[in-house]
């Protein structure tokens, strides 16, 4: 039985879809069977980031409604035989999801895969609630910026009250990703540091990802940045994927810029 992880944020545009694609592939490259599901109904995006937009025939709503079976709808990644993808439907009607249907889909996927990763829509409305309802864990993505952190706290509040696990008296696991860190700005006191964000949100940190132009280059090509060994964001995703697979990987301090690091090293020899 696999683990179901919802990738959430509250605020839009902070990096959920990018995280879903890269963690899914990172986990698959670790040898685990993984499926990533786009729950952002009406705004299908994950297919582009994975470079699979031309392969979509059936979407997850068609599977839930019994118009397609799951085998037909699952799309295999070009890069790893362990990664599969299920597309969001492009309908404008967001009320197509219902708890019963979502639960059945997720139960099916859990039987087939080690990891089931759900890319949530922005906001805290019904689409979001359906994404978290049957999740065992949530990855909360924030940017080091006030509105993202505040919205994340509200999303966490809903997770803690609406998740089926919590309603059963169990705990839903919560892991924080701080995305788009600019080391220079943290050093000069112009950007919140990770300790401050952790003080405020009070959840467990699973990784810090630097701002990296490579992310856009990767999505232009439909090749997740985790494949780019030189990219600092790609390396960060590799580390987080390893942690999710149970490896012990030390947290790397991406909040020190190269010049800051140089100053520190120079300091040692003084």
């Amino acid at each position: 039985m696999g683990i179901v992880i919802a990738v959430i944020s509250g605020k839009g545009g902070v990096g959920k879809t990018t995280a879903t694609a890269n963690l899914g592939l990172g986990i698959a490259l670790n040898g685990k069977k993984c499926v990533v599901v786009d729950f952002d109904i009406g705004q299908r995006n994950l297919d582009m980031i994975l470079g699979l937009e031309n392969r979509v025939v059936y979407d997850m709503v068609q599977v839930m409604d019994g118009d397609a079976n799951i085998k037909q709808a699952l799309i295999k990644s070009k890069v790893s035989p362990n990664l599969y993808f299920l597309a969001a439907s492009q309908t404008k009607d967001k009320s197509v999801l219902s708890s019963n249907k979502v639960e059945k889909l997720i139960t099916d996927l859990k039987e087939k895969f080690d990891f089931v990763i759900l890319d949530s829509p922005a906001g805290i409305e019904s689409g979001f609630e359906h994404t978290i309802e049957f999740a065992d864990a949530a990855i909360i993505v924030v940017n080091p910026e006030v509105s993202s952190i505040r919205d994340a706290d509200r999303a966490i509040g809903i997770l803690d009250s609406k998740s089926a696990k919590v309603k059963n008296g169990e705990e839903v696991l919560k892991w924080l990703i701080i995305n788009r860190i600019v080391a220079d700005m943290v050093e000069s006191g112009e950007m919140l540091k990770s300790e401050d964000i952790l003080d405020i949100l009070d959840i467990k940190l699973i990784g810090k990802i630097p701002e990296d132009k490579g992310v856009i280059d990767a999505s232009n090509q439909g090749k997740p940045v985790v494949l780019d060994k030189k990219s600092i964001a790609g390396q960060a995703y590799t580390r987080i994927s390893g942690r999710l697979c149970g490896q012990k990987i030390d947290m790397q301090n991406v909040e020190i810029s190269d010049s800051g690091l140089f100053k520190r090293i120079a300091g040692i020899f003084r």
């Binding site: 505040r150 509200r154 509040g157």
Partner: protein, 80 residues
């Protein structure tokens, strides 16, 4: 490094932390109310149930400046 103009002026990240701490505290107050909210709901439901059928109870904590209030909505069950 030690700029004369920055002296005494708070760095914006620490301003952000202070503002966020306060905003989030008040958000949490508003949405979560009290930890005993569910029990209170159940008890209110029991009391009203003695007299008329009840479908559900909704309680919200409302804050308006200095005034704090509990808004309690009891939805009746017409068929009961």
């Amino acid at each position: 490094m030690f700029s004369f103009f920055n002296f005494g002026k708070k760095k914006s990240a620490s301003v952000a932390k202070d503002r966020l701490t306060i905003a989030i505290m008040s958000d949490r107050d508003r949405t979560n109310g009290y930890p005993f909210m569910d029990e209170m709901k159940a008890e209110i439901m029991d009391v009203v149930q003695k007299y008329v059928g009840v479908r559900g109870v909704e309680i919200r904590k409302e804050i308006d400046g200095e005034i704090e209030a509990l808004a309690i909505d009891v939805e009746l069950d017409k068929n009961a």
